[in-house]
Symmetry: C2
């Protein structure tokens, strides 16, 4: 059994490891890593180009057909021992496959949005699990345009990509330098922009007309939406709640609001 790379000190391994664990390095290099058969295969199916793939013999045997496809699709492929793969993996029990890709260049101009009628916008969502879940849910509920503020956690964080179940690679995304400006742009092209708040004085989501162009804005886990964002929203909306909890988890609130919009679309 021969390996293409056998040392943890190999420059490629050190580079990939740094990408997997260091957000600033990902930002600077404009590359990211993805791990696991399903996620790597989703990248392939989404037509995103794969620069390098690292796999173990064990994975090649277990998932032979799909790994073969991925190996021919990637520009370069390296078979590595399990202990090298563990170096570049961020899971406890790695499946034995990691790929390296250039970041997606999918900035859409908000002014030219045409077919998208339903948008979710996120202000400073910090938890990678929440962001991944929101992406996954947004796709399932038919909202495939996502606006994210600069303060959101890194879109290419391995936990975000995994949690999204591949939806990250299929979603249309806009990373807003200034989310208030993005909201103003959306309003100019006739979006009703709804700011989600855990506040009984806001309109109940069930009382709001959700037909036509709708954008829902959901805020940070601890602090909710900033006043600046609320000031530019068309309307504040809330999910009616009982009991003593003061708010829903941010991903859950986003999910229920997106579900309400889908409900309206389905009629």
């Amino acid at each position: 059994m021969s390996f293409d790379i056998v040392s943890k000190e190999n420059a490629k391994i050190k580079y990939v490891k740094k990408l997997a664990f260091n957000e600033n390095f990902r930002k600077r290099e404009r590359y990211f890593t993805a791990e696991g058969l399903r996620l790597c295969y989703d990248i392939f199916l989404s037509g995103v180009s794969i620069d390098e793939i690292y796999y173990t013999n064990e994975a090649a045997k277990k998932f032979s057909e799909k790994i073969d496809e991925l190996i021919s699709y990637a520009k370069r492929a390296y078979c590595v021992p399990v202990e090298i793969l563990k170096e570049i993996s961020d899971t406890k029990t790695p499946q034995g496959i990691v790929c390296l890709c250039e970041k997606l260049d999918k900035q859409f101009s908000l002014n030219t949005i045409s077919s998208e009628n339903k948008i979710i916008a996120l202000e400073d969502i910090q938890d990678p699990g929440n962001l991944g879940t929101i992406l996954r849910t947004a796709e399932a509920l038919g909202m495939n345009f996502i606006v994210m503020s600069k303060g959101c956690c890194d879109f290419y964080n391995p936990k975000v990509l995994r949690g999204s179940m591949g939806a990250a690679f299929r979603a249309k995304t806009f990373f807003a330098d200034e989310i208030c400006n993005a909201i103003e742009c959306l309003k100019k092209v006739d979006f009703k922009v709804l700011g989600a708040v855990p506040d009984k004085s806001a309109s109940l989501i069930t009382d709001v007309n959700l037909s036509g162009r709708i954008a829902i804005v959901v805020g940070n886990e601890g602090n909710g939406l900033t006043q600046g964002v609320l000031d530019v929203c068309s309307q504040k909306v809330t999910i009616p709640m009982l009991g003593r909890v003061e708010s829903l988890n941010a991903a859950m609130a986003a999910g229920i609001l997106m579900w309400e919009i889908m409900r309206e679309v389905r009629g």
Copy 2:
């Protein structure tokens, strides 16, 4: 400044640490720990008795009023240095307060359920974050009776308690040795039991009559509901989905289904 405990080798500290990190030990001892001012205070407000409280001087200064209340409420209180508190904390940046409580004894008999009309039942939910989120959402959406299968993650896992935002201490719970038997019991007292599946052939949740006694059953993150459970459910229900994701996150699915039930209750 004087401390009540100064050594990590102190028997009490070792005991509390083991409880915080070891599920089997929690099971055997029938005690659990909770961390953070908000959670400890929620325990106090819920009337659950606190055996011991461990706090730092820093926390006592920062949250003086509430910590004082907690200290008088607890049977015993110990002021400890920050490095000792870190030993018994499972968060990266501890707030400086941990309490030790006896497990709640809140097993309800399913046969005598009277006022509860809306129940959520969980089969083998594995992720503590998901279980915590489900408890938090269940309370907010008015479902305060939770049935959990033996295969669910530990209810007293610190991540569950924190994620529930205290709802864990207020919910009525039933830990079912055999979840199929529990479902049969619910059906005998006129519950319609809906098994959640990501399956287009199941009834859309929006098409199901959700008035009266309703129990929603949600399954494991990876595998969904077992056939055994599906066989005893009154009906299979699903959330309509678009896109290429094959299912929603388990907590999200539970949340949307509970929301639909609340929608029905509100009329």
